[in-house]
Amino acid sequence: MKKTLLTLIAMAALSTTALAADIKPALVYGTGGKFDKSFNEAAFQGAEKYKKETGTDFRDFEPTSDTQGEQAIRNFASRGYNPIVAVSFAWTSAMEKVAAEFPDTKFVIVDSVVKLPNVRSVVFKEEEGSYLVGILAGMASKSGKVGFIGGMDIPLIRKFACGYAQGAKAANAKIEVLQNMTGTTGAAWNDPVRGGELTKNQIDQGADVIYAAAGATGLGVLQTAADNKKLSIGVDSNQNHLHPGSVLTSMVKRVDLAVYNAYKDAAAGKFTGGIQTNGVKEDGVAYALDDNNAKLITPEMKTAVEKAKADIISGSVKVHDYMSDNSCPM
């Protein structure tokens, strides 16, 4: 009798955990801040989407320094928040420490790898998505010159630039790729004025399609390109709607899905650790096509980019990853 009672209690406990859809999700942004119209905002959108669908609210925090990031992750963990998603590679070492302290909490890190059983590391093949928009840029350019404007000169952004250059060269072997970085401090992610100046400069040098991978700085790039009747390419979120008819396409990086899936998997009890690599094949990176840019993408361009996509998926085209050897063949 006692045993059956115990079994019953154990079963009840088990079933409640299986039904425990009320997770307490948390989200820690990069130091760029929540509303950057780009990377961090995509993460926010993912969490919002989960909230809308399930009614489960989430807590978020915008750290201003590395020390605060670690504190925030630890605070969430010690208050029972689970799962905890931290976007930005800046939290790698913080995550290594905190995830080891709380082995029963599930963590997700975006854009970096932490090798612990309770951490899911979500990384993206930005070079593949950039390759696709590079092909579109190479084909759309009439002057034979395309531009790239990055935020801060860090490996991640070189990865974008390298994939883009490879794509543009694949479309047009003689194309020239102009490259500029916005700055050397964190302010480079949030300097639309300087982004605009660099764009003007590249346009003066003859570029007629400009790809921005620079957070909120990119807004200035897109604006200046639109003002000068040139084409631009957005990044991270779908930015086609910002200047319809001028934004050629956007390199969409599905940070929102990474956040959304983490919460969903945790609620369903299907959360897994390990590395999740999201490339073109997994729809983790893509070029954006909607009503705003449908007229800019000709049928030939669409055929070419779809072919490239299929080639990447099948493996017959391999886009070089800058991070693999810290150099770019272009």
């Binding site: 801040g33 590395d66 925030a72």
Partner: protein, 367 residues
């Protein structure tokens, strides 16, 4: 009669007036908090508890304060010589390079207490070197040190990003940072100090560099008020023409003051680089150099005042982060507003209450 020249006792100038300024700043901040629909008293309680309520909270507060003591002293030393060093930020950034190179070179072979003196010297040397060119330009060419030190912040940032992305980075890693130092290159935490007071430090990175900061604060006091060089610097600060007339070498004093200032800023790097993260990262200074200006202003450029002002800013930093964590309505921008109000009242408007104080004091004295 002007009230500016009336002498007031020190306890009013250095005790009561800063306290009054602080209260007004908190009152206005409270109005802002109330205006966005939160309870100001609850917010104040969270701010105090979040910075002083627990062992680890105090640890974080003191960790931030340590950085601010270094940069505050840096600004103050230059200020005594009449120089406005806005470049502590860049000097601290370069100081990090000095500390990191020492740690990377020695951490495999020797324990931390052998590495530490070399790291202190390395950080100070690199910081001082970064202050040297603006100092030389000021002394010999009259290029204003405010302009040149600001520009050197950007040159420093560019140099550091280049080095971290291309030279010092661990190949294949995403983050532009050096490898993690082994224990021989790390400054140990001060948990024993906290244990004296029955507090548990927890994960807070409060470390030995706090003690180095206190030693430096004492040495700065000795330098400024007890040495010939300090006397020369102060004379130069009050009246350059009088100093030159008295035979104090202008160029030499300017350069030495700036070198000491840069060295102190460089030592700030010991705290985050070797004390907390055990690696050199991009932008590890995080604005501490600029906070140093406010700290020095509030502390009236006196080491004791600087230590107290640094503690206050440590409380605002740590308590502010905790407050915006507990009250999501109070965003991190709101915390900057509160910090800004404190700087405004305690720094820029420091003499606002002085006339009223003088009248009150004179009336009380007559009575």
């Amino acid at each position: 009669m002007s009230t500016a020249s009336v002498p007031l006792p020190n306890w009013i100038t250095y005790g009561l007036m800063p306290l009054l300024n602080l209260l007004v700043a908190f009152f206005i901040s409270g109005l802002v908090v109330w205006w966005i629909g939160e309870d100001p008293l609850a917010a104040l309680k969270l701010l105090i508890e979040g910075s002083l309520g627990r062992g680890d909270a105090i640890g974080f507060t003191l960790f931030y304060a340590t950085s601010f003591i270094f940069t505050g002293l840096s600004v103050a030393v230059a200020f005594h010589a009449g120089l406005f060093n806005i470049g502590s930020e860049g000097q601290a950034y370069l100081g990090g390079l000095g500390a990191a190179l020492v740690a990377l070179a020695l951490d495999r072979y020797v324990p931390w207490y052998v590495t530490m003196p070399f790291a202190v010297i390395g950080a100070a040397l690199f910081g001082a070197a970064w202050a040297f060119i603006p100092a030389w330009l000021q002394a010999k060419r009259g290029s204003h040190v405010v302009i040149t030190t600001i520009m050197f912040n950007f040159i420093g940032a560019a140099l550091m990003v280049y080095l971290l992305v291309n030279v010092l980075i661990v190949p294949g890693k995403m983050a532009p940072e050096t490898r993690t130092f082994l224990p021989g290159g790390q400054l140990p935490k001060l948990d024993w100090l906290m244990a004296w007071f029955g507090l548990k430090l927890g994960p807070a990175p409060f470390n030995v560099s706090f003690l180095i900061a206190l030693v430096m604060a004492f040495l700065v006091w000795v330098l400024i008020w007890r040495t010939k060089l300090g006397y020369e610097m102060r004379t130069l600060g009050i009246s350059p023409s009088a100093a030159i007339y008295a035979g104090i070498p202008y160029g030499r004093t300017v350069i030495i003051a700036m070198l000491i200032s840069g060295g102190l800023a460089g030592m700030m790097a010991l705290n985050p680089v070797m004390g907390a993260s055990a690696r050199l990262q991009v932008e590890f200074v995080g604005g501490a150099g600029f906070v140093g200006i406010a700290v020095s202003l509030m502390g009236r450029s006196h080491p004791l005042g600087i230590v107290l002002a640094a503690l206050l800013f440590g409380i605002l930093y740590q308590g502010g982060a905790d407050l915006s964590f507990e009250m999501p309505n109070i965003t991190r921008e709101m915390i900057v507003v509160i910090q800004g109000l404190v700087i405004l009242f305690a720094g820029a408007l420091e003499y606002m209450f002085r006339p009223a104080m003088v009248h009150l004091y004179q009336r009380l004295k007559r009575a």
